[in-house]
C-alpha cells in the first residue's frame, strides 16, 4: 500500500475562448512510498505545479484524486506543507514570527516556551542564527528560502511539497541549499514531492524522477529510477557511473518534448500502458539510447 498515491488524476481548465475546456494533464497515476523523494520534471506550463497544488489541496482535480495515508485529499492541511518558488514569507513578520506562525498552528497546545525552542531548533538547522528578528526584505533569496524550508520542516508534515523551490536563487547559492536540503532530508526522511526543471537538482535529490510531456494534455511519460547510492553530494554524484546516463536520458527527453507541435510516436501506447519505467541497474531495460551526434 503506497503512502501517497495520485490516482487517474486529470485537470481541465476553461479555455480562454470561453467555450470548452483545455486539458492540462490527464490520467496521472503515481504511487509514492513513505520516505520517498519523488520529483516531477517538465517544461514550463506542462501542469506540474498544478499537480503539486492539487496534492497540497490548494486546487481541485477534475477527475481522479490524491490519496494520502488512506485518506482522500479534499483541501489544504498541516500534513502537506508547501515550499513555494516565491518563498511566500509574510513580509510584515520577522523570520522568527514566520516560522512561529506555522509551529503555533501545528502544535496549538504547546506553551510559548516550547514553541520558541522548536522554532529556534529549525532556525539553527538552516543556519539562520542571528537573523531571527530580521524581516524577509532584509534577507537574500537563499536566506529567504532557508526560512521557507525551516517553516516547512518545523511542522513535521507527512509530505513536503517543493514547488521549484530554488528557481529564484542564484546558481552558486542554489547548490549550497540543495546540499543543505539533502542533509535535512537525511535527518528527517520525510516523504517529498518536488517539482522542478533543473535536471541536476532532480538527480541529486530524488529517488525517482517523473518526466512529464508538454501540455495541453500532458502526461507522465517516463519514470526514471535514480540508481545512485546515498548519501549523495554534488561532488561525488558526478563520478557515479549512472549519473550521465540518467542526466542524458532526461535531457534528451526534455529536448524531444521542447516543441508543442511535437507528437510522440509512442504517445498512444504509453497512454494505454502507463509510464515507461527506466532503470539503469538492469541494463536490459527499455531505455532510450541517445544518438551520439553531438
Amino acid at each position: 500500500m503506497s503512502f501517497l498515491s495520485i490516482d487517474h488524476m486529470s485537470k481541465y481548465f476553461p479555455s480562454h475562448s470561453g467555450n470548452g475546456t483545455v486539458c492540462i494533464f490527464e490520467d496521472v497515476t503515481v504511487k509514492i512510498t513513505k520516505g520517498e523523494f519523488v520529483t516531477v520534471i517538465g517544461h514550463s506550463g506542462c501542469g506540474k505545479s498544478t499537480l503539486l497544488n492539487i496534492i497540497a489541496g490548494l486546487e481541485t482535480p477534475t477527475e481522479g484524486g490524491a490519496i494520502l495515508n488512506g485518506q482522500e485529499v479534499t483541501g489544504p492541511g498541516l500534513d502537506r506543507m508547501v515550499v513555494f518558488q516565491s518563498f511566500a514569507l509574510m513580509p510584515w513578520m520577522t523570520v522568527f514570527e514566520n516560522i512561529a506562525l506555522a509551529v503555533r498552528s501545528a502544535y496549538p497546545t504547546w506553551s510559548s516556551q516550547e514553541i520558541k525552542a522548536h522554532v529556534q531548533k529549525y532556525i539553527t538547522l538552516v543556519g539562520l542564527q542571528g537573523a531571527e528578528t530580521k524581516k524577509p526584505t532584509a534577507l537574500s533569496g537563499g536566506m529567504k528560502q532557508r526560512v521557507g524550508l525551516a517553516r516547512a520542516f518545523s511542522i513535521e508534515p507527512k509530505v513536503l511539497l517543493l514547488d521549484e523551490p530554488f528557481a529564484q536563487i542564484d546558481a552558486l547559492t542554489r547548490g549550497v541549499i540543495q546540499e543543505e536540503l539533502v542533509q535535512m532530508w537525511n535527518a528527517t526522511r520525510n516523504t517529498v514531492f518536488m517539482v522542478t526543471h533543473d535536471v541536476d537538482e532532480a538527480i541529486l535529490l530524488s529517488d525517482r524522477i517523473m518526466l512529464m510531456t508538454n501540455g495541453p494534455s500532458a502526461r507522465i511519460a517516463e519514470i526514471v529510477d535514480v540508481t545512485i547510492p546515498r548519501p549523495r553530494s554534488r561532488e561525488t554524484i558526478i563520478e557515479d557511473e549512472h549519473y550521465y546516463k540518467i542526466r542524458n536520458h532526461i535531457i534528451h527527453f526534455l529536448v524531444r518534448h521542447a516543441s508543442h507541435e511535437h507528437t510522440d510516436e509512442s504517445g498512444d501506447d504509453a497512454k494505454r500502458s502507463g509510464p515507461l519505467e527506466i532503470n539503469f541497474r538492469d541494463q536490459a531495460a527499455n531505455t532510450y539510447e541517445p544518438a551520439v551526434s553531438h
Binding site: S86, W92, S105
Partner: protein, 295 residues
C-alpha cells in the same frame, strides 16, 4: 558638480515667507488721506459718511474703523486679530462665541468620529468585497456611482432625514471618507499575493486569525493609502459642512467672521484650518508608518 546638501530648506522657507509677508504688507498699505483738491463741503460729506475723521489738530485722516472693511487687511492686522483670538482661546463669551481652542476641538472631534466610523465600515466592507470577487463585481457599479458624489450633495437629504445638524455634519464627513478607503481596501485584499492565503490555508488558520494575521497586515499598505485619500477628502468636507450647517467649528469661524465683515478674521480662520489639517495629517502619517512594510 556636486550640490551642497548641508543647507537647510528651513532658511529658504523663511526667506520666501518673508518676501510674501513683505509683498502682502506693501500691497495692502493705503496711502494717507490727501485732502488737496477737495472742497470743504466734500470733506464734510466724507466725514459724515465715516470715511474720514478729524484729528485734534484739525487734519483729516482715514477713519480707522472704516479701514477694517476696506480692501484686504495686511499681515499686521491679521497678526493683531490672531493675537486677540489666541489670547481668548479658552474663553466662552456666548452661545455662538467660543474661543478658538474650543472651535478646533469641535472640528477635530467631529472629523474624528466621522472619519473613524467611515474607516471601520469601509475596511470591513472592503475586505468582504476583496475576498469575494463575484460580490465585488456585483456591487462595483453602485460604488462607482456613489463615489464621485460630493459629500455636500448629501447634506440636505441627511439634514431632512436625521433632523439634527450635529449628526448631519458627522455624516457628511462619513460620506466623504467612506468611498476611497472602501475601494482601495477591496483592491488591496483582492490583489494580496495568493501565496499568503495559501500558506494561511495550509496552516489551517481560523477565519479570525487569517483576517488579522494575514489579510489585514498584508493589505495594510494599500488600505493606508486609501485612508490617506479619505482623510484628505474628509478634511475638505468638514469645513463647508460647518459653514452651511452653522455648527461651531473652524469652518463656522470663517463664515461668522465673513458675516461680521471681519476680513482679518476670515484670513485668520483660513490659517487655523490649514494648521489643524497639518496637525491631523502628521499624526496620521505617524500611525501609517507603523503598519506599512516593504515587499
Amino acid at each position: 558638480m556636486s550640490i551642497k546638501q548641508t543647507q537647510h530648506p528651513f532658511f529658504i522657507s523663511i526667506f520666501f515667507l518673508g518676501i510674501f509677508l513683505f509683498a502682502w504688507h506693501i500691497a495692502t498699505i493705503s496711502p494717507p488721506f490727501d485732502p488737496t483738491g477737495k472742497t470743504d463741503e466734500e470733506l464734510m460729506v466724507m466725514e459724515f459718511n465715516g470715511d474720514i475723521m478729524q484729528t485734534d489738530d484739525g487734519q483729516y485722516v482715514w477713519n480707522p474703523e472704516k479701514e477694517k472693511v476696506k480692501g484686504v487687511p495686511g499681515p499686521l492686522t491679521v497678526m493683531e486679530k490672531a493675537w486677540v483670538e489666541l489670547n481668548e482661546a479658552f474663553v466662552i463669551k456666548g452661545t455662538n462665541d467660543h474661543g478658538i481652542a474650543f472651535l478646533v476641538g469641535y472640528t477635530v472631534s467631529r472629523f474624528a468620529v466621522g472619519f473613524l466610523a467611515a474607516s471601520l465600515v469601509a475596511i470591513l466592507v472592503g475586505i468582504i468585497l476583496g475576498l469575494n470577487q463575484m460580490l465585488f463585481r456585483a456591487l462595483n457599479p453602485f460604488i462607482q456611482i456613489l463615489k464621485p458624489i460630493s459629500p455636500l450633495a448629501w447634506m440636505p437629504l441627511l439634514l431632512y432625514t436625521v433632523k439634527d445638524p450635529k449628526w448631519t455634519a458627522i455624516l457628511v464627513v462619513f460620506m466623504a471618507a467612506v468611498w476611497p478607503t472602501l475601494a482601495t481596501t477591496a483592491f488591496g485584499v483582492n490583489t494580496l499575493r495568493k501565496e499568503y492565503l495559501q500558506v494561511a490555508a495550509i496552516l489551517q488558520l481560523s477565519w479570525f486569525k487569517r483576517l488579522y494575521k494575514v489579510i489585514l497586515p498584508g493589505a495594510a499598505p494599500t488600505i493606508v493609502n486609501g485612508l490617506r485619500i479619505s482623510f484628505g477628502s474628509a478634511l475638505v468636507a468638514v469645513v463647508p459642512a460647518e459653514m452651511l450647517l452653522g455648527e461651531l467649528g473652524v469652518g463656522y469661524l470663517s463664515w461668522i467672521e465673513w458675516n461680521n465683515l471681519d476680513i482679518a478674521g476670515v484670513i485668520f480662520a483660513i490659517l487655523v484650518v490649514g494648521t489643524v489639517g497639518v496637525i491631523l495629517d502628521s499624526g496620521f502619517n505617524k500611525l501609517a508608518g507603523l503598519v506599512t512594510y516593504q515587499e
